[in-house]
């Protein structure tokens, strides 16, 4: 079994693709309560990438600082964990952003939770059209 048919074929894109896929599996397993230790066999079972190929990507992630290697096992490094938290924050962003029907698409209150809270506070005291936050 080689790499999955849907994976990119160029070396650079393939490296980015497998980095994302491997880290996603590791965050997923961690979220399900299975810890964050993986080996090439597990990556093969979960991602369908040949273990011999998978291990080269795992080693690349070690070189890039995402993982720490301990013999045959790989674990998320503090940097890898931080990177995961950033990815989660990005995926939460759409959920945490308010959807004020009265605001225009470029309203600042869509850009951050702080701005949204300020906007909400202002709306409680004033008509939304003249709330003090920036547009």
């Amino acid at each position: 079994m080689a790499e999955s048919p849907s994976s990119p074929k160029s070396e650079h894109l393939a490296a980015l693709y497998w980095r994302s896929e491997i880290l996603q599996v590791m965050y997923w397993l961690r979220g399900e309560g299975f810890g964050d230790l993986v080996d090439a066999g597990l990556i093969e079972r979960f991602l369908g990438v040949d273990a011999a190929i998978g291990i080269t990507y795992l080693d690349k992630l070690v070189d890039e600082g995402f993982l720490v290697r301990d013999l045959d096992f790989f674990q998320l490094s503090p940097f890898g964990l931080e990177r995961g938290a950033m990815e989660f924050a990005e995926s939460f962003a759409d959920l945490t952003k308010p959807t004020h029907g009265e605001c225009s698409a470029d309203c600042w209150c869509h850009a951050s939770v702080d701005e949204a809270e300020a906007c909400l506070a202002a709306r409680l005291h004033h008509d939304h059209s003249d709330h003090p936050h920036r547009h």
Partner: protein
């Protein structure tokens, strides 16, 4: 998809649902199926943060997923009805042959 039709869920819980229904699959299969269904737009996922542990990926059916599930359920019901009719006919035939054998002996 049937489990997700009842409400959103996460990987381990979906694996347990299958095991409870006598369809044991390993977690890697659950993961790969979820990834595949998400790429096909049948399910969507989000990360749910937890105060007590790491963030967990939660899956739910998309409108396309609901439609596919509904169509699949209709198809499965149809198969269930046809299988039921086949089994009834087979039972009736076997019962008839059994009666004939018994009466020919007496």
């Amino acid at each position: 998809m049937i489990s997700l039709g009842e409400g959103e869920s996460h990987g381990y819980e979906l694996g347990e649902y299958l095991r409870r229904n006598r369809l044991p699959v390993d977690l890697a299969t659950v993961y790969r199926k979820l990834q595949s269904m998400e790429r096909r737009g049948l399910i969507a996922s989000r990360w749910e943060s937890s105060a007590s542990g790491p963030a967990r990926r939660i899956y739910s059916l998309t409108p396309d997923g609901f439609e596919k599930l509904w169509n699949d359920l209709e198809g499965l019901r149809d198969i269930q009805v046809r299988l039921g009719l086949m089994l009834d006919a087979a039972e009736e035939s076997l019962a008839g042959r059994s009666r004939n054998r018994t009466s020919s002996r007496t």
